[in-house]
Amino acid sequence: MAVRVQVADFEVAELQRELLAGAQDEGAIATFTGYVRGINSGQQVQSMELEHYPGMTERSIEGIVRQACTRWPLLAASVVHRVGLLQAGDQIVWVGTASAHREAAFSACEFIMDYLKNEAPFWKKEQGPQGAHWVDARSQDRDRAARWDNGTPKGRTTK
């Protein structure tokens, strides 16, 4: 399990190779990459400042990955999240999960992202032609994370 919070950009292929090297007998890897949207809530976004709570951020994501490891038979899982000044189109976050079969890898990857968006202490401040503003938390993100509270969402299996 690897959790990294960094200013630097990341190379997806390299992260996937690292994940593969850390797993034994994997048959499936699922990955998610998040990018800075050029338009958010109808407003143009030129850049974004990502603030976080050093220490708590890493601890929070590690806790989420540990939860995923208890729910699904994962062979490896990694999260990389960037902070600092990002431009529209830049990569923000990468999640990778390895398992023997695809269902666990898909579900765990989605679970980690849903929880990360609701629990990990990051805050986005968008900068566009209209000025800068803090991004508001979305109720849809809370609803997505809550889907996992009572077992696994319909159509998904656990170990």
Binding site: H52, S60, P121, K125, W134, D141
Partner: protein, 84 residues
């Protein structure tokens, strides 16, 4: 000593990233600490820290409701998170 931290919109609105508060019996729980910060900071602090969606964390874990504070604890106030 209690280490108090503010993040994102809260930090900006207070114009303060954090401060140290001497631990004593009058700030031995989270609500008392918040009341102290509001009293010392004035109306602006009272308004910002009393926002209904304010999240409070003690020693880097989110807490719901009041909780005891011990000397050396780290307390943080921040808005709902928006990462990912």
């Amino acid at each position: 000593m209690l280490k108090v931290l503010f993040f994102a919109r809260v930090r900006e609105e207070l114009g303060c990233a954090g401060r140290d508060v001497v631990w004593e019996s009058t700030v031995a729980d989270l609500d008392s600490l918040q009341a102290r910060l509001c009293r010392e900071g004035g109306p602006r602090w009272s308004q910002v820290l009393s926002e209904t969606n304010m999240i409070r964390a003690v020693n880097q874990a989110v807490v719901n409701g009041n909780t005891p504070l011990h000397d050396g604890d780290e307390v943080a106030f921040f808005p709902p998170v928006t990462g990912g």
